[in-house]
């Protein structure tokens, strides 16, 4: 379970590397706070709006404001889920909505051929290796997916070799 958490949070390592130059002039407590509130949606908004070299030294307020709105929505919906979730009939399969949300998040990530083929390879391996214990199937799928992505990027036309 910890390994799963590590894997689904790996993308935040990338976000962290992208955000670091924006926030390096801030005091440590600010950097702890901004690390804690980082989520996908706010990262996407922020990265689309600011560049590290644009000299804006107040953009952390934009990041914090948006993040706090998302933080409140997150805590509120989690609370509703914990206290009212049991009232929703199990046969509605509401948990399937989380898989559907992942599908919606996945599509914008498939920005080039290599990433797409890497993901397809990972999906295939995850299916074959689903019976492995300790979520090792997931880790194997990601390892093969990354290898497949690197291989496609190497052999394919250079349409997908830009930076993230």
């Amino acid at each position: 379970m910890i390994a799963t958490a590590l894997v689904v949070n790996l993308r935040y390592v990338i976000y962290s590397a992208v955000l670091a130059p924006h926030f390096e002039h801030l005091p440590r407590r600010w950097r702890v706070l901004l690390s804690y509130v980082t989520v996908d949606g706010m990262f996407a908004l922020f990265a689309g709006r600011y560049r590290p070299d644009d000299g804006n030294r107040h953009n952390h307020w934009y990041f914090l404001g948006g993040s706090l709105v998302m933080w409140c929505a997150w805590q509120l919906s989690s609370g509703i889920g914990i206290f009212a979730g049991a009232m929703i009939p199990a046969e509605w399969s509401l948990e399937f909505a989380s898989t559907l949300a992942l599908i919606a998040l996945l599509i914008p990530l498939l920005f080039d051929r290599a990433v797409t083929w890497g993901a397809v390879a990972a999906g295939g391996v995850a299916l074959i290796a689903a019976r492995l214990p300790l979520n090792l199937g997931l880790l194997a799928a990601i390892a093969v997916g990354v290898a497949a992505g690197l291989a496609v990027a190497r052999i394919g036309p250079r349409n997908g070799v830009g930076r993230v």
């Binding site: 894997v7 976000y15 962290s16 590397a17 559907l100 299916l127 990601i142």
Partner: protein
């Protein structure tokens, strides 16, 4: 139950630490620490691979067995969701459409 509750809390704490430190790893040092190019190339493919590896078994496995059939509600719902996500880029449309497809297949195939 009581014997296991410490384990639940330990798992929650562990996952919270993982969630925090993956975010803080470059923001917190604050210096000019940068990813080596190899790590950057690996991380480029990891997120999409990870999400796909979570999605596919949930759609195509039913009780641990492969189920590729128009009567598998999760598979049909998932495929509808993929099409909607690609066409609309809307999370809400994806979830609503996928749930509708799941329910319809359940009604008529179940």
């Amino acid at each position: 139950m009581a014997a296991e509750s410490w384990l639940v809390w330990a798992l929650i704490a562990g996952m919270a630490l993982v969630a925090f430190f993956t975010r803080a790893i470059f923001i917190l040092p604050g210096s000019h620490l940068r990813l080596p190019p190899t790590a950057e190339r690996v991380l480029r493919y990891a997120p999409a691979a990870a999400i796909m590896a979570i999605i596919v078994p949930d759609l195509a496995l039913a009780h641990g067995a492969l189920s590729i059939s128009i009567e598998n509600p999760r598979l049909v719902g998932g495929l509808v969701a993929f099409a909607l996500a690609a066409a609309t880029r809307s999370i809400l449309a994806t979830i609503v459409g996928g749930m509708l497809a799941l329910t319809l297949v359940r009604q008529f195939a179940g």
